[in-house]
């Protein structure tokens, strides 16, 4: 919020802001294919969680059943609304769709502009799906349910906003907005080290976003339109001198890299994931990390020349992140920490796809974002539910769960196999694209990824072995299997992973046109 005031301050000092607005108008309409008078479906989706949160605020805190029901209803409604988008989405067009826009701060030239293209639509779907899953998984939260549900819905609002915003000022506001609910969710409902985890998380992300803000301001100051709309910022950024472009991209990389996360700025992630309550871990790993990757894709679009300069560095960071995350995940005995580090490794693959800067690699990156969203969400869901039953995350404490909890065993095994990238899962399709893109761009360096692949198989299979096999222990003999609602949530995620893996045409159709447009600029 404070940073936003900064934005305003600069805007006010520029007297020509108002005059230029007409031109930016024309600019925006060039990429807008839907008529502005239609039902503003994106706004409806975006604000649905807020309505839910407001409703919950009116309910007395003791009526937890009603509170949960409203939260569930709001998340379900959001998902259903979002799920209706692909039916009217024109996948042949790379343009922004369902576009809507109104002036927000005319003095500065910022807009309340929402729209989705093939890259952001899967992310919108993913966030709304995972929010519903997280809400279902929240039945394990018993303390201050009202506050918890409000923060959860607020988090969904922020995430959806990030993926829908078509104005950098709006994007930034939503970006920072996700921090506030997350801080409280971790700090109030987290594990024993929750205070440290939440504070670290917020400081790290804020530290990154300062650089992001400076980079955005640098672009904004040179913008001829004096508008923060993404289109105007793109033209402004590409007109910057090359040195400045590099600096600006460096700032954006830092801001988004913290969130993604990339080596060596991943320090906040393991603790935050481990300490967060499990529904929040689902969202953190499944959807929030994707915000970083998504922002990076958008900044690549903004500064193609700088990205080409940075390409070897991006590649190096990606390779290190993949191997580093994998090796550390292999060493973990804490299940949640293991999944957290494996998330780092998987997000490194997203960067690897981006760094190939060709269509196949970028397709791989966007697919991997969805694939890891589903896999990471499912893993944190299953392990979180297991933790609620056994109160241990130590892998050595588990044994023989296949006998006691066959549903858990089946779903977790399938998810871990998908995490390894076995054919038939969406991760495999994503990995294949990223690797093909990589081998076309960077040749033999791709070989190094094979270390990551083998290590990922090592920890996945060790986990399967330790969790589900072995002699029956008394402590593990009475673990309850998945309840129907939980089975539904986990089953939906696993079905998505397998279904889209066997028939990848559906997600590919959605994203191909937009990725083609993005890759054409390099």
């Amino acid at each position: 919020m404070l940073f936003f005031a900064l934005f305003r301050g600069i805007a006010v000092r520029r007297p020509s802001a108002g005059n230029q607005e007409v031109r930016s108008d024309a600019n925006l309409h060039s990429r807008n294919s839907t008529a502005p008078d239609l039902v503003k479906i994106l706004s409806v989706i975006l604000w649905a969680p807020v309505v839910g949160a407001l409703l919950i605020a009116c309910v007395p805190a003791q009526r937890t059943r009603i509170v949960r029901a409203i939260a569930l209803g709001a998340a379900t409604a959001t998902l259903f609304l979002a799920a209706s988008l692909p039916f009217s989405f024109d996948s042949a067009s790379a343009d922004l769709q369902f576009f809507e826009r109104r002036a927000w701060n005319p003095a500065m030239g910022s807009f309340y502009a929402l729209g989705v293209d093939g890259i952001s639509l899967p992310m919108v779907l993913l966030s709304s799906l995972l929010s519903l899953v997280a809400t279902i998984a929240s039945s394990t939260i018993h303390r201050n349910v009202k506050g918890y549900c409000i923060w959860l819905l607020a988090l969904e609002f922020g995430m959806l906003g990030v993926f829908m915003a078509q104005d950098w000022a709006l994007f930034y506001v939503f970006w920072e907005l996700t921090l506030i609910p997350l801080f409280f969710l971790i700090d109030l409902w987290g594990g024993p080290y929750r205070h440290k985890a939440s504070l670290n998380f917020v400081l790290y992300t804020m530290g990154g976003s300062v650089f992001m803000l400076l980079a955005l301001l640098a672009v904004y100051k040179s913008s001829p339109d004096n508008s923060t709309a993404m289109d105007s910022m793109i033209t402004a950024a590409r007109a910057l001198p090359p040195g400045t472009q590099l600096l600006v991209f460096g700032g954006l990389l830092l801001g988004f890299g913290v969130k993604m996360p990339l080596f060596p700025i991943h320090g906040w992630l393991p603790l935050a994931h481990v300490e967060a309550p499990s529904p929040v871990s689902i969202l953190l790993s499944g959807a929030l990390l994707k915000m970083g990757a998504y922002g990076l894709l958008r900044s690549c679009e903004m500064l193609p020349a700088a990205v080409v300069e940075f390409q070897p560095w991006l590649l190096a960071i990606a390779l290190i992140t993949v191997i580093y995350g994998g090796l550390i995940a292999w060493r973990q005995t804490d299940l949640k920490a293991m999944i957290a580090y494996s998330s780092i490794s998987h997000m490194g693959l997203v960067l690897f796809g981006i760094a190939s800067l060709n269509m196949t690699g970028l397709l791989g990156a966007t697919l991997q974002m969805s694939a890891h969203g589903l896999v990471g969400g499912a893993l944190f869901l299953l392990i979180g539910l297991l933790y609620e039953r056994t109160h241990t995350r130590e892998i050595g404490d588990y044994s023989s769960l296949i006998k006691v909890t066959p549903r858990f065993a089946a779903l977790t095994t399938l998810t871990l196999l998908a995490a390894v990238g076995l054919p038939g899962s969406l991760s495999f399709v994503a990995e294949l694209h990223a690797l093909i893109g990589g081998i076309q761009r960077s040749g033999w360096w791709t070989l190094l990824l094979s270390i990551g692949i083998i290590v990922s198989a090592a920890y996945a299979f060790r986990t399967i072995g330790n969790l589900f096999t072995g002699p029956v222990r008394p402590a593990m003999a009475a673990v309850e299997d998945l309840r129907p609602a939980e089975l539904l949530a986990a089953g939906a995620l696993v079905a998505g992973i397998l279904g889209f893996g066997i028939a990848p045409a559906l997600p590919l159709d959605l994203i191909t046109a937009s990725v083609a447009r993005l890759s054409a600029i390099f």
Binding site: I328, E394, A410, P423
Partner: protein, 520 residues
């Protein structure tokens, strides 16, 4: 119509697997009552696809069916399109027939052998899945489909090695076997990637046709990638140890996996890639060397084994070494015939191994042959299986483990310190014992988890606060007192001294000249 018929061959076992899985999850299928149903489902599916396969073979022999059948598009993205297609040539059809014949036989055998086992349904689920995967592998029309079948078959092998999941040894062996297989998978995947990069098409006929026109060095690289995959899957040197660990599974499954079908897939891949290998002399030489070495290794080691499954598996490995050798020498037809004959014979031997055990239980072991008995060094080496596994552990597994340890130490010492985590923060409270302890002692304060930042951020904030504090202390608070007046007086005296100096003529002239110069 033709498409549906051909597609139904792998789909029958796969849908049987799906049905069994659905039955197990819903709880309808289980216990002894469901055994009959599961068995009939699995057998019926395998028989149906065998009938479909026979029809396809009949149609193909009358040339009423094309050798390459396109069913649809699997992955279409940008410039690359990967079809869902089937290759129906002599090699793939006969290998599919072999899979189904042995599959039906083993399923029939298992129906009685696994009777009243606790994991009866699980076993049949994995077996039908495996048969489906193998059919995809053999009939798959492009490299990627074959790879998919290849991987799923590998997972099935993992699941069956770990079948007796109460025994930790079985599970550890399953993981080890799968990890070794993963090395081969990477070879396969890399081969496919290179094929995409250099040839641009993965359909077998086009790929093999284009492979003849590749540069020799490129062809060698491509062939070696696939050779790696084939050598791992067929347990050739230096990857042989995984297959001895794979003997943990139930005997009928060992017969199907390591006696007959799966262990031959490596040789099948080499036969499938015949034009590619023929185009590259170094690859042929490697093929020959790997085959010859493995044959000797399997022969010598097999002589010293004392249990039936181990001696059978070393004999298998040696025979497949001979198949590789034949391929390397260019005797492709001979290798093909050898493959099919060996698969049938070895499958039978594995299936009859348990009854054999009953027959020979009382008889003494046959001693090792004289040439081996008189060479203690060689005998010892053979007994130790030539230390292949120990060498792998020492030269590959241990370095990677050490690297992981180093990386983790780096994370602890550098990254986490930058974040400012107390060293034992992560994972210290994750175990059940720690949880119990913390619950008992929950009355204490927040302990080490104070609400404060750490690491670099803390240090920076601390330094900033110190500087500001100093500023506040020195100038704002103390300054208003005597210090500030003293300072001002001293400042005034200095100013007066400068003023006096400037009033002297020489400085005045200097100042005027300087002014004139600067104005100009």
């Amino acid at each position: 119509m033709l498409e549906a018929l051909a597609a139904s061959i792998p789909l029958f076992p796969l849908s049987a697997a799906l049905l069994i899985a659905a039955g197990m999850v819903s709880g309808r299928l289980g216990g002894e009552a469901g055994e009959c149903y599961t068995r009939r489902l699995a057998l019926g599916a395998a028989m149906s696809s065998a009938i479909a396969l026979l029809i396809v073979i009949g149609l193909r022999s009358r040339a009423a069916m094309p050798p390459q059948l396109r069913l649809g598009t699997w992955i279409a993205s940008g410039r690359h399109r990967i079809d869902c297609s089937l290759t129906l040539d002599a090699l793939s059809l006969s290998f599919a027939m072999l899979i189904l014949l042995l599959g039906v036989a083993v399923l029939r055998f298992s129906g009685s052998y696994m009777h009243r086992e606790p994991g009866f349904h699980r076993y049949f689920l994995v077996m039908t899945l495996f048969i489906g995967a193998m059919l995809i592998l053999s009939l798959g029309g492009n490299g990627l489909l074959t790879f998919a079948g290849w991987e799923i078959a590998g997972v099935c092998s993992f699941l069956l090695i770990g079948y007796t999941h109460e025994r930790p040894v079985a599970v550890a062996n399953a993981s080890r076997a799968f990890l070794t297989n993963r090395v081969g998978d990477i070879g396969f995947l890399l081969g496919l990637l290179l094929a995409v990069a250099w040839i641009g098409d993965l359909e077998w006929p086009k790929l093999l046709h284009a492979a003849r026109k590749l540069q020799p060095i490129a062809a060698t690289g491509l062939a070696l990638c696939f050779l790696l995959a084939a050598a791992v899957k067929s347990a050739q040197l230096p990857f042989t140890p995984w297959v001895t660990r794979a003997m943990e599974g139930p005997t009928p499954s060992s017969a199907l996996f390591y006696g007959s079908v799966m262990i031959h897939t490596g040789a099948f891949l080499v036969l499938r890639l015949q034009p590619l290998f023929e185009h590259s002399v170094p690859a042929m030489f490697c093929l020959m060397a790997v085959g010859a070495l493995t044959a000797c290794y399997g022969f010598l080691t097999g002589l010293t084994q004392t249990d039936v499954k181990s001696s059978l598996i070393f004999a298998t490995v040696a025979q497949i070494g001979l198949i590789f050798l034949a391929c390397g020498l260019g005797w492709w037809t001979f290798a093909t015939v050898h493959l099919f004959a060996h698969a049938v014979v070895r499958g039978f031997q594995f299936l009859s191994a348990p009854s054999l055990m009953h027959r020979v239980a009382a008889r003494p072991m046959r001693p090792v042959p004289a040439f081996l008995a008189h060479r203690p060094g060689l005998y010892h080496a053979a007994l130790q299986r030539f230390w292949v596994e120990a060498a792998t552990d020492r030269w590959i597994v241990a370095p990677v483990q050490r690297m992981a340890a180093d990386v983790e130490r780096f994370d602890r010492e550098v990254v986490e310190r930058i974040v400012g985590l107390p060293v034992p923060a992560l994972g210290s409270l994750s175990s059940a014992a720690a949880w119990e302890e913390s619950r008992l002692a929950a009355t204490g304060g927040s302990g080490p988890d104070a609400r404060e930042a750490g690491g670099v951020i803390r240090w920076m904030a601390h330094q900033l606060a110190l500087a500001l504090h100093w500023f506040e202390e020195k100038l704002v608070l103390q300054g208003v007192g005597a210090d500030l007046w003293k300072g001002f007086r001293r400042f005034g005296q200095r100013l007066r001294a400068i003023d006096e100096a400037l009033c002297r003529p020489r400085y005045l002239i200097l100042l005027v000249i300087a002014t004139l110069l600067s104005v100009k």
